[in-house]
């Protein structure tokens, strides 16, 4: 495949339309951090991978995006599900991951276990897709930074200590990781540029 543009117009496939919609949700969530943005309807995936995480992943994966799955998700049915639908390169550690998927905040490695990027290439950092039990009802935190008009208050159900780790991640800016949280229905974007007030 050498040319990126090919000829005649044909309607986009269902998968392509879905990828585009999911991308726009992601783009909006990271552009307006702290706001809950709703996902489109997504097809099912083998348990314990939820449709939301599966949809996000399939929209972003290719061979250049090393994928790390949290041990709870790293099983043959999920590997073959992803391998059948996308070009995937699995990596063994969070440090090597371009994309990391964690289905439970209790299983989230320390944030500094992921790749923070390099001074000249901060974009070479890990994007973490994190499933949380709920996007509300956890400890409330006021965020400030690009994409936020004044402050944005979020309260996802994350373990005690998460926000201290996040403060350290933000303090490394422009290095650092970016997190997308989902409760299965909506997304909240947490780019490294955003810090606790």
């Amino acid at each position: 495949m050498t040319t990126a543009f090919s000829s005649p117009a044909a309607p986009p496939s269902e998968a392509a339309q879905r990828d585009q919609r999911v991308f726009r949700v992601l783009l909006r969530a990271l552009s307006y951090p702290g706001r809950v943005v709703l996902l489109p309807a997504l097809p099912s995936a083998p348990a314990p991978l939820c449709p939301a995480l599966a949809g996000l992943l399939l929209g972003l994966l290719d061979l250049e995006a090393g994928l790390w799955l949290t041990p709870a998700l790293d099983c043959p049915p999920i590997r073959s599900f992803l391998t059948y639908r996308a070009a995937v390169q699995f990596v063994a550690t969070p440090r090597e991951a371009v994309l990391a998927v964690v289905d439970d905040p209790a299983g989230l490695p320390p944030l500094d276990a992921f790749h923070p990027g390099e001074p000249a290439c901060p974009e070479r950092s890990t994007t973490v897709l994190l499933r949380v039990p709920a996007l509300a009802g956890g400890p409330a935190v006021a965020l400030r930074g690009p994409g936020i008009e004044a402050t944005a208050t979020v309260a996802p159900r994350v373990p005690y200590g998460f926000w201290d780790q996040w403060a350290r991640n933000h303090a490394r800016y422009p290095l650092g990781i970016d997190i997308i949280m989902t409760d299965g229905v909506g997304l909240v974007g947490l780019p490294r540029s955003v810090g606790r007030e």
Binding site: M1, T2, T3, A4, F5, S6, S7, A9, A10, P11, P12, S13, E14, A15, A16, Q17, D19, Q20, R21, F23, R24, L26, L27, L30, S31, Y32, G59, L60, L61, D62, L63, E64, A65, T83, Y84, R85, A86, A87, V88, V98, P119, A120, C121, P122, E123, S125, T127, G145, P146, G147, I148, E149, Y173, P174, D178, P191, R192, S193
Partner: protein, 296 residues
């Protein structure tokens, strides 16, 4: 490579860019939004497009746009420029997209040389075509050296250059592509927009995406992000001003182009943003529009 649904279906190509490339561009866009003003490299594919189309902007637009979007394309401030007309026709044809000339009706605006006068909203995305994404290029010819300066936020060389201008001419003479500091961290090129447009990037409600095709870099200015045009305490940044208003709509708040008109020696200035100008004229003459004087 493992076939995915799309390739099995025979390589359809909504918006003319294959899904694999879109994925790559999309990942780069998401990173760019997380690091405002930082140039993110993307892909390495040849884009067989007619020269002058601004492949960077097109690739960004093609990766972002979907069936629900309404696209507006501006070239030199006008929707009627040849480039703008062909890009709009292109997306209508290959993607069946709705297009508009109205800033207010558009969800995605691809532009070069101008940012619309009508303030953008949270429901809009601005895509700017950028020929040269590196603001330090004139000063630091080697890309690796420029990247090192960005890594350390070491922008003294740019301040020196601007200050030399002030020493020689009493002011910074840059009329276009006036460098900005994004989110207090990255020096960025606002693209070849007049410096009149720079303040529109500051704390905009809309996301702005910048695509440079030849250099294969893209960068972003998220909404509600501080965008400061470089200046000095004793020489604050100023935008262009005119002593007259638009000859067509009377606006004194818009960027004006000089056009030849009237007798010899007569100088006339009109809005460069044709949609803004027409909207103002229609607002002041509603009867004429109702009678069929509007646009097709």
């Amino acid at each position: 490579m493992i076939p995915n649904d799309d390739e099995v279906a025979g390589g359809y190509n909504f918006a003319y860019l294959d899904e694999q490339t879109k994925r790559m561009v999309r990942r780069a866009i998401l990173k760019a939004v997380c690091i405002p003003g930082h140039q993110v490299p993307f892909g390495s594919r040849e884009m067989p497009l007619p020269a002058g189309w601004g492949t960077g902007g097109l690739q960004v637009t093609a990766s972002v746009i979907g069936p629900d979007d309404v696209l507006k394309v501006i070239d030199q401030g006008t929707d009627a420029a040849t480039n703008a007309v062909s890009i709009r026709a292109f997306f209508r044809r290959v993607a069946g997209l709705a297009t508009t000339e109205r800033t207010r009706e558009a969800s995605l605006i691809q532009t070069r040389h101008r940012i619309p006068e009508t303030p953008l909203t949270e429901e809009q995305i601005l895509v700017l075509q950028v020929p040269q994404p590196e603001p330090l290029r004139q000063l630091v010819p080697r890309g690796a050296a420029a990247r090192r300066l960005h890594a350390f936020a070491d922008y003294g060389v740019m301040y020196v250059k601007l200050y030399e201008d002030i020493a020689r001419f009493g002011r910074v003479t840059l009329a276009y592509d006036y460098p900005v500091l994004v989110n207090g961290r990255y020096l960025a090129s606002p693209s070849p927009i007049p410096r009149f447009d720079n303040p529109k990037l500051d704390n905009s409600r809309a996301l702005s995406l910048f695509g440079a095709g030849r250099e294969r870099r893209l960068y972003a200015i998220p909404p509600y992000t501080r965008v400061a045009s470089l200046d000095f305490g004793d020489h604050p940044f100023e935008v262009q001003r005119w002593s007259v208003g638009c000859a067509l709509c009377g606006s004194r708040a818009s960027y004006l182009d000089e056009i030849g008109s009237g007798g010899p020696g007569a100088r006339m200035f009109v809005c460069s943003d044709t949609d803004y100008c027409e909207e103002r004229r229609e607002a002041s003459a509603p009867a004429r529009r109702a009678a069929g004087g509007g646009r097709p």
